[in-house]
Amino acid sequence: MKYALFLGCNIPARVDQYDASARAVLRQVGVQLKDIREFNCCGYPMRNVDQKAFLLSSAVNLALAERAGLDILALCKCCFGTLKEAEHLLTEQGTLQEEVNGLLAQRGLKYTGKIRIKHFLSVLYHDVGLDTLKSKITRQYKDVKIATHYGCHALRPSKITRFDDPVAPSIFDKLVEVTGAKSVDWDRKLECCGAPVLGFNDDLSMNLTKKKISSGKKAGADYLCSACPYCHLQFDTVQKMMVSKNGNDPLASVLYPQLLGLCMGMDEKTLGINMNQLDISGVTSFLESGEENAE
């Protein structure tokens, strides 16, 4: 199993621990990754003001992966959704598509739709499989409650992203339960984290975040769990800003590969546990010792 790893812009600059922990986990389960240096922005932030800039930016990545003959593994759900959207748009005919294909050709690139785009969680669930994950787990969590955050751009529009059932998704919950943690049912599980409007409507953004957090708490969750740098930054850095302003008790967010990596016996440093803004080191206290598990 080999994929072209699509990191996007946020992860290398602000969520290095997602990069490090995802690579560590994927290596452990036998997934090979190739870094394509020419990958550029997925186009997501350009959608509001310039569809053509978005589509070209996305198409460049698809064409580069196609040239390498590899499917894309995206860690970010906004990148994933945007690349999927571009893949969908490029199957249609129109002036926009013609222009974008022309600009690709100028760079010596071509996209014909030969490669697939997958999110990290889909690769773990569908391609690696829960059984393989189980076989690599050396110790499990006990009595920890996790609120899984699916992320809008992976789930919807489901006809295009084909990530999971948009109304009752389950793959993330199953991936969390493999670790022995309990995935709680919570009201706002499928809602927006608030990140898409941060920076230009902070009140709205933070209100949405606040509602997510109180919904998670109400369901008794000990931690939120995400697999997207935007959602993570919102639950981590932005929540920290909100906490320092309002003095509430935070509900910290663990990145899925951090949660999983700990069960595979990886050390906290590799997984960047202390790189999160909000302290998540307490999650290790829920781990059973390896010996107990073996019995």
Binding site: M46, N48, L103, Q106, P166, C192, L204, V238
Partner: protein, 590 residues
Amino acid sequence: MLFTAFLYASLIIFALGLISKIWTWFSRTIGISAKRISTSQRVSAAVKGILGVVFSAKILTLIKVFILDVVLQIRILKEDFLRWVMHMLIYTGFMLLLLMHALENFISEPLFINYYSTINPFMFLRDLFGFMVIVGIGIAIFRRFVLKVPRLKTNAMDYYAIFILAVILLSGIVLEGAKITSYTEYQFMVEDYADLEDEEEIAALESYWVRNFGTVSPNVQAPFDEEVLSMGQDLHEASCMDCHSAPQWAFTGYATAKIIKPMALALDRAGTSTILWYIHFLACFLGLAYLPFSKMFHIFATPVSLLANAVMEKDTSDPANIATRQVMELDACMHCGTCSLRCSAASAFDVRGNDYILPSEKVTFLKTLAAGKKLSARKLGAIQEGVYLCTNCDRCTVVCPAGINLKELWFTVREDLVQRGYPEPLVLSPFSFYRGLNRENISKEDYARPLADANRAVAGKFEQVMDPSTPISFKDREIVELDQLPSTGTFSYCFGCQTCTTVCPVVAEYENPQQTLGLLPHQIMNCLGLGLVEMASGPRMLWDCVTCYQCQENCPQNVEITDIFFQLKNLAAKNAGKVVDESSPDLEAA
């Protein structure tokens, strides 16, 4: 005499230039916050900072960075092998020429007792060093004009740098070739060192030199008599050999001599050597005098930038030193284009054609801005877009061979520009995410102002068209413009069930959503159904949309609502397009 006068004049200009340039590091400012720190504060902070680093363990970091990044230029090697070869050839070749050849009175002669530029190894080395630079310049020209490295822009400064180096080097080589063939030079030397009077001896030595040293004589010509040559060799060994190695070792000059041989006598009569000598030293002096004002100044500024950035940190370093460093970094940029090649957002440049989206061009612009030049309103609009259209992925900072902390530079400049420019629709996009994360570093008013301006601009005439007393206008042109994608037409399937509005988390957020949001999702679809594009593209709803796709997912009629919103936002942003009034006064820069 003239030589000395020019030398001192250019040295003085060079020194004054150097001082004035370094002065600008402390006196010029980038961004608003730097203005609050005085020049004297910055100078004393710099002295304190430098002393603090030199007398601490950080000196080890400096030594490491000096060896790896300044001398060996590992950062360039990591980026591109050919470029590294190019730069090493130019830089080591030129430095060694400078030390051994240009400064021979001060360095080579005191250092080597038997130094003569015409004996080996010095003669060979001079040509080797010159040849290295020539090859380097060749690669530079090849990269820029043949290979056409993507997004590598060539400006006047780049042309100048290539030009002045080429003139210095080529004039030197041709001068050497002309001197090898020159009969006049030969005669001078014979008069000074051989002091021959016998006609036969004169002819013999001349023959020997014509045969073996490339001299072109009007008197003697091949074929030569063996006896004459052997007499010439004796005379050569007696008077010349100690100071002259075989000319073939000066391979570039010798090759030139071979090429110009047929016209050597004419050239010599015309005094070509003297002319070339003037060109050579005047070019050197021009290069020296103009160096602080040209791209070549990076010879000084780039090492400073690499070293400063190796020991400075955003949160712990004195803001006064950061202000100084940011101005200095502009001089460290040699316009190599690495940042633009690696820029995550550069595909937008291919579409929008705005040079300022490319980081390398932004830096070039910042030099103008920091120098306090006035900007036309149009240019300000372009630079504003360029500075904002950045995903803050930090790649430019990671790859910059000069170690410039570009990400901090962008943050400083972006805040400054966004405050005093035209409303920029890009602030209403996820490009603002990074600014949001950093909101605590910006005052409340400054944070809100650009957003309010942009919101007003994208709303267009929304208030007016919503006024019941305004007659309804249908704009077919905009519908055509809007109809870029097949998804757009899906609004016509809407039967008004309002599911979109019901499931929208943004609508649910407000007590009186219609008042806050202008129009609700289903109403926007209704507007489109009626052809009221101007109305549909104005409400706040579009820009408050969190793009969660709940509406689109839940629509029983498969109306692609979120995607239509994107189209409407594109249209509104385009119409908000900075209305640049050419008659408005230019904005004061810096």
